[in-house]
């Protein structure tokens, strides 16, 4: 955000880091760009005549509806649980994050099992001659995606609200604003970078989603990508549509950058946490009801349904193998989160030290992987790691030695792919938090003789702690749920909970997949719970000196 501070070389370690990350993230993009060597005009003619117009329209509609719903739920609930006191608020503060642990396609399947024409709830409605909602539509998919993804916005907004200086709100109120007006005119504008970052994650997830849209029969661009690849046998065309998708994502990111640039957001002086207002009984219980309903719709009822299915259909499948799946999921999630967060910190820090446009562009490229459908990204990564292996084996042959491939089928390839995919998930919270640390602190530390590394370690890292945990937990949960990359790059025998879900759902055994789906959700609630405690508790980080 700032210009290069004095004393920092214009080319340093950071530039090497950023260059490396950009090269890494650009790997699948290389495969995409290379696809433009072969334009299949027959397929493109078919796509533009019959599919793309619908797919562009439905992608836009889905994106808009999901974003509106996720924004409303995320920001609304975050403000409610931050600014007010009502029965159960301490519980809701962290519980409202937990739906993050539920894979969206699992949530989608549960809703279809209830509300589709052959569903259990649908049968009940029909018996009483009640109108039956047509759920296998864009609206059904939007509903599911919004409830599965709103926690990204909720988390970002709540972190921002908690760390917003109460003084700003008090000033607003002193100037005659009611608490509601203060929300719209002070709190939301101050939290805007965080909220936009949260919404961007939701948008990327929607663009890359294939599971939910396939279940609900929505024609989005990701469906077009799969159709070109799997049905029309044209992977280059699929890559070209992916390029279109990536372009749209970059546009969205530029918009975010523009929105952010218009204001600087730093914390000055000691911030006072916002003191929640006690609500009158009727609004208080209404607030409790709203939070309960959201939690029930997004998590409790679906988990109960999965529990019933797991008990009735999958009980026998619960063998000691599940410890193995569990352990693999946790190990991959943990190591992936560690590596991704580490690189995201380096990236955010590099951007802070060098605010030139080239650096911003590089950062954008490094984080664009999240908007690509996972399968396209996986193909790109495997293409690149395989080329490295080919070179390695060829080099061995040159030395008259037999060198086996070093990347293919190893955890290293998996971690590279996870990093490319989820870098932006970790980058968002870290960059937002780093931007709030005023450069004056750096300057003060420098003037006291602290080195750049010392500033990072002794000033920034403690201040970034909540953001680091947030980033790690988000990436961890995302890796638990991730499928195409895990499938394509896992070493032999490295089955995880997510690949268990795939084995069953790919074979049409959705209800039997309830057991691993439940396990993924449970495994994801642990970091979500931890995240909620660490990040959104009012006594964390900035506000530690002034517990309430």
């Amino acid at each position: 955000m700032t210009g290069t501070p004095a004393g920092v070389p214009r080319f340093a370690f950071w530039h090497v880091v950023v260059a490396g990350l950009v090269a890494l993230a650009a790997a699948p993009l290389v495969a995409i760009v290379a696809s433009f060597r072969a334009i299949d005009s027959d397929v493109w003619h078919h796509l533009t005549t019959y599919l793309l117009p619908t797919q562009l329209l439905e992608t836009a509609q889905l994106l808009l509806v999901v974003l509106l719903l996720a924004f409303g739920l995320g920001v609304g609930l975050a403000w409610l649980t931050t600014a007010y006191r009502f029965p159960g608020v301490a519980l809701f503060r962290w519980a409202l994050l937990l739906p993050l642990a539920m894979p969206a396609y699992v949530l989608g399947f549960v809703y279809l099992a209830w509300f589709d024409v052959t569903g259990s709830v649908a049968g009940f409605l029909q018996r009483w001659d009640l109108p039956l909602p047509q759920v296998r539509t864009l609206w059904g998919a939007a509903w599911v995606l919004a409830f599965a993804l709103y926690p990204y916005v909720y988390l970002a907004a709540r972190v921002a609200f908690v760390t917003t200086s109460a003084r700003a709100l008090e000033v607003g109120q002193a100037l005659g604003l009611t608490r509601r007006q203060a929300f719209w005119r002070v709190a939301v504008p101050l939290a805007r970078p965080a909220i936009v970052a949260g919404c961007a994650l939701v948008a990327f997830e929607v663009l890359a989603d294939f599971g939910v849209v396939a279940l609900f029969g929505v024609e989005t661009l990701s469906v077009g990508i799969y159709k070109a690849w799997y049905a029309l046998f044209s992977l280059p065309t699929a890559m070209q549509i992916a390029a279109l998708l990536a372009f749209l994502a970059v546009l969205a990111l530029l918009f975010e950058q523009w929105a952010r640039k218009r204001a600087r957001f730093t914390t000055t002086g000691r911030s006072q946490p916002l003191t929640p207002t006690r609500l009158a009984p009727l609004p208080a219980w209404s607030a409790t009801l709203v939070c309960t309903v959201v939690l029930a719709v997004a998590l409790l009822l679906p988990v109960a349904q999965l529990g019933v299915w797991a008990w009735t259909l999958g009980r026998d499948a619960l063998t000691s193998r599940y410890w193995h799946f569990f352990a693999n999921s946790l190990l991959l999630g943990g190591s992936g989160a560690f590596v991704t967060v580490l690189l995201a910190v380096l990236l955010a820090y590099a951007q802070r030290l060098d605010g030139r446009p080239l650096m911003h562009t590089a950062v954008r490229i490094a984080t664009v992987g999240y908007a690509l459908p996972g399968a396209v990204l996986a193909v790109g990564v495997v293409a690149v790691t395989s080329s490295v292996d080919h070179a390695w084996v060829a080099l061995g042959r040159w030395f008259d030695a037999h060198w086996p491939p070093i990347l293919g089928g190893t955890v290293v390839t998996m971690l590279i792919a996870y990093t490319i995919r989820f870098l932006v998930v970790a980058f968002g919270p870290i960059q937002t938090a780093l931007a709030r640390v005023t450069p004056r602190m750096d300057e003060a530390a420098h003037s006291l003789g602290e080195t750049q590394y010392g500033v990072l370690r002794r000033i920034h890292l403690p201040l970034l702690r909540p953001a680091l945990f947030a980033a790690a937990a988000l990436v961890f949960i995302d890796i638990l749920k991730e499928l195409p990359i895990t499938l394509m790059t896992r070493p032999f025998g490295w089955e995880t909970l997510a690949t268990r879900i795939f084995e069953l759902t790919n074979d049409g055994r959705w209800k039997e997949a309830a057991l691993p789906a439940l396990a993924v959700t449970l495994a994801g609630t642990l970091p979500a719970w931890f995240l909620a405690k660490e990040v959104t508790h009012p006594t964390s980080a900035h506000t530690r000196e002034t517990p309430c």
């Binding site: 024409v117 190591s335 690949t499 074979d507």
Partner: protein, 335 residues
């Protein structure tokens, strides 16, 4: 301190993972899109019969083929197992398979269920046919796929999405048998008769027929087999279509030796074992499929449906004409 222990353990695990991936000489490596619960019993029986161990990884067909292409001669895979003839055709065209010379296999697998150049072989068979509600539709009311285009079925037909590969192969073989124009007219008739939006899977189509949302549909037989095995009263039965002319559309799960197999002789032994009656019985019994080798018994559920005349159209047509089929279904508005 704790943190350091964790990091050490993590590093150790990361280093150990590729090392533990090196394997004994007598191990066959398989990439399969047939899922674990269906293929593990087959591998177990093979290991028991021959002493050869099998390691495998699962993924979707397209991803496995791309992975084989990218890995090239470094691939660890000896054998590729996929479902659907179109995928087998694609694997051959992508150059990831090599021909297998085996008289046993040629003799046991009928010609239309394998590749003409011996790159792939169908090892289990499934019929994709018309399903009817046992009471609401009489057995003599429907005889051919074409009949479902008749306006008499308006609002009574359920279909799975056209994005499904089995529907694509069905339509592709119809194009091979009937020509594109005639097939398009039939498919348009189906779309006009739909009772509700296409479903995401075959099981949902069968449940919709059972619950009265519609009366007829088109699905693979083993999905019905699973439902009937769970509930013998499940009120849907198959119609053996086109018995007077081209026969019921069938599809296969199949197998091929990868182009850069490190153990081609093990791969050959595996594929030759797959056409023994022991192996064929596993395919027939465990998931209500049909064997490809004559004389293998089917599951009791499947036996009740009786026998049928299967289409003799070469399955490679499903691959050759898949793109045309997909474009046709898009034109017809089949979502």
């Amino acid at each position: 301190m704790q943190r350091r222990t964790f990091l050490t353990a993590l590093t150790a695990a990361l280093i150990a993972a590729p090392v533990s991936a090196t394997v004994a000489a007598e191990t066959l490596t398989v990439y399969t899109s047939r899922n674990e619960q269906l293929i593990q019993p087959v591998f177990d029986a093979f290991t028991k019969a021959t002493g050869i161990t099998v390691r495998f990884t699962t993924d979707k067909d397209g991803a496995l083929i791309e992975r084989l292409k990218a890995e090239g001669e470094n691939t660890p895979a000896d054998v590729l197992i996929t479902v659907d003839a179109g995928n087998l055709w694609l694997a051959k065209r992508s150059g990831v398979l090599q021909p297998l010379t085996s008289d046993v296999v040629l003799q046991k697998i009928p010609a239309h269920l394998r590749d003409a150049d011996n790159h792939w072989f169908g090892v289990s068979l499934r019929a994709r046919t018309v399903m009817r509600h046992v009471e609401r539709v009489r057995a003599d009311e429907i005889a051919r796929y074409e009949d479902l285009a008749d306006p008499k079925w308006k609002g009574r037909l359920c279909l799975r999405t056209s994005k499904n590969v089995y529907n694509q192969s069905l339509v592709a073989t119809m194009i091979a048998d009937l020509g594109e124009a005639k097939t398009e007219a039939i498919v348009k008739g189906w779309v006009a008769n739909l009772a509700t939006l296409p479903f995401p899977n075959d099981t949902a189509v069968l449940e919709a027929i059972a619950q009265g949302i519609c009366d007829v549909g088109i699905t693979n037989t083993y999905y019905l087999g699973r439902l009937v095995a769970k509930n013998p009263q499940f009120p849907v039965v198959p119609v053996w279509t086109n018995q007077q002319d081209r026969g019921v559309h069938v599809n296969v799960s199949g197998v091929g030796v990868t182009k850069h197999a490190k153990h081609p002789e093990l791969a050959k032994r595996f594929i030759e074992w797959l056409v023994t009656s022991d192996a064929q019985k596993i395919f027939a019994e465990q998931d209500h499929e049909y064997p490809v080798v004559e004389g293998t018994p089917v599951s009791p559920v499947v036996a009740r449906w009786g026998t049928f005349q299967a289409s003799q159209t070469p399955l490679s047509k499903a691959g050759e004409l898949q793109r045309a089929a997909v474009q046709l279904m898009d034109r017809a508005g089949w979502r």
